[in-house]
């Protein structure tokens, strides 16, 4: 139990990624697939953020308003900024890719008037 709590974030990361992957593979609805993709992505972002988190650490803004003292001598008391910036840009790129996915889904809907994968395939075969 102690071990599980100490690594609980990784367990949740794996569960979220697998939920997203299951949705992308098993759901027939294209919008549900898009949401699954976004959930998979937030799982990965959670992984990066949680490995950069430190116990009793302050936010990586080195001002006195955020309880820091100049100059910062102990880096272990500040949360890891590097994993954060990688994920910050990933979120914005994520919304752009979600937009592309939704645009593709809309285009498919124009052709087949359905989001359902099976119906689209039936339409294709006709």
């Amino acid at each position: 139990m102690e071990k599980l709590i100490a690594n609980f974030n990784y367990v949740i990361v794996v569960i979220l990624m697998m939920i997203g992957l299951w949705s992308m593979l098993a759901q027939k609805n294209l919008i549900k697939k898009c949401i699954g993709m976004a959930i998979f992505q937030t799982g990965i972002i959670l992984f990066f953020i949680s490995i950069g988190a430190k116990d009793n650490a302050l936010i990586p803004i080195l001002t006195e308003a955020a309880n820091h003292t100049y100059p910062v001598s102990d880096a272990s008391k500040v949360a890891n900024p590097l994993t954060q910036i990688l994920m910050l840009t990933a979120i914005v790129v994520g919304v752009a890719t979600l937009g592309v996915a939704l645009a593709l889904a809309q285009k498919i809907y124009q052709q087949h008037s359905s989001f359902d994968e099976d119906e689209i395939l039936e339409n294709e075969r006709k």
Binding site: G52, A53, S76, T83, I91
Partner: protein
């Protein structure tokens, strides 16, 4: 683990997030799924704020809980929000469930090898990252380490991420945009019947008219003050874009397009990336490396050691412009089905 003062709260939120993910995927109505997914993103942003990642949480609140929900809703507005239920397929779903469980079990088997949650001496936290924390003030006078790493130390990354947003915007244009001339001569595409026009509501219109200036002021503050507080070009750009998307939703697309024509939008999306790249080129002309802001000190106002801080601001403005207008352009494309006449 009890070193974290409120770790129980973290665990509660993490469980809630999984619940929300399951609900978002199992709900039958797609509009409902979109809204639950927005709530999921908001929960996620609380978790990240609790882990000390305030900038990421801010971005997720603006992007994940805000704009991406709007994108899904405007897609559903043009299509259909109901899922057709058909019998069968359970065996397939269970089979995929089994495959996914096995994959998850493999991932979980690596669990004991990971450093403890919150360990400050793990390889991720002990190797490169301390350099940024200890030297950012001396190097660039930017207290927000995330901003200085984003726009200065790893400026190339951010330049290319901005380019990705630009390319995604072009991709959506080429997928959805319908040629006006073709639309008039060819068979008229069946326009979706608007089920509900919020532009009719006086309360919605007046409330958003009141909110938009404050949103824009806040967004400008977020961009300009990103050096000293959470925020920066990405977050401010998304909020600026959201303020105009709010106008488009509460009035109509036409009144937004009167102010910002299609051409202007695309030019501005490109202009942001261009500004970013041009700042880098200017550094080269002044004798330095690409995006080495120190060499801009003779052009920029202020002391010599503030040159990097000012360079970061210029770059953030470029990011903000691109993100703002690409969000608007993506929304207009999705909401009007590429016809740019009417929509959500």
């Amino acid at each position: 683990m009890p070193e974290l003062p409120i770790w129980q709260f973290d665990i509660l939120l993490l469980i809630l997030v999984v619940l929300f993910a399951v609900v978002a995927l199992s709900i039958r109505n797609l509009m409902g799924a979109a809204v639950v997914f927005g709530a999921y993103s908001f929960m996620m942003c609380l978790i990240w704020a609790g882990m000390g990642a305030v900038d990421v949480a801010f971005t997720e609140a603006a992007v994940g809980a805000g704009v991406s929900t709007v994108f899904v809703v405007s897609t559903l507005y043009n299509t259909s929000a109901t899922m057709r239920s058909r019998p069968g397929g359970l065996a397939f779903k269970l089979f995929i469930g089994l495959v996914v469980t096995i994959a998850g079990a493999f991932l979980l088997s690596a669990l004991p090898d990971f450093p403890k949650w919150g360990a400050s001496d793990s390889p991720v936290n002990a190797k490169v990252a301390p350099y940024y924390i200890l030297n950012t003030i001396a190097d660039s006078h930017v207290p927000n380490v995330v901003t200085s790493v984003l726009a200065d130390y790893r400026g190339f990354d951010t330049l290319l991420e901005t380019t990705v947003v630009f390319i995604a915007c072009i991709a959506i244009y080429s997928i959805l945009r319908v040629d006006k001339a073709k639309l008039e001569t060819g068979e008229p595409a069946a326009a979706p019947v608007p089920r509900y026009d919020p532009g009719d509501s006086l309360i919605v219109r007046q409330a958003s008219r009141f909110m938009v200036p404050f949103m824009q002021l806040f967004a400008l503050y977020v961009i300009a003050h990103g050096h000293y507080s959470p925020g920066g070009g990405f977050q401010g750009g998304v909020i600026l874009g959201a303020s105009l998307i709010l106008l488009a939703i509460s009035f109509d697309l036409k009144s937004l397009l009167r102010q910002w024509s299609e051409k202007t939008l695309m030019l501005l999306v490109a202009a942001g990336v261009f500004l970013y790249a041009a700042v880098g080129l200017a550094c080269m002309f002044m004798g330095g490396d690409y995006l080495d802001y120190v060499f801009l000190d003779s052009i920029l106002p202020g002391e010599k050691d503030m040159a990097r801080s000012h360079g970061i601001l210029l770059v953030e403005i470029g990011v903000g412009i691109t993100v703002m207008f690409s969000m608007i352009a993506i929304h207009i494309n999705l909401a009007s089905n590429g016809r740019f006449d009417r929509g959500l």
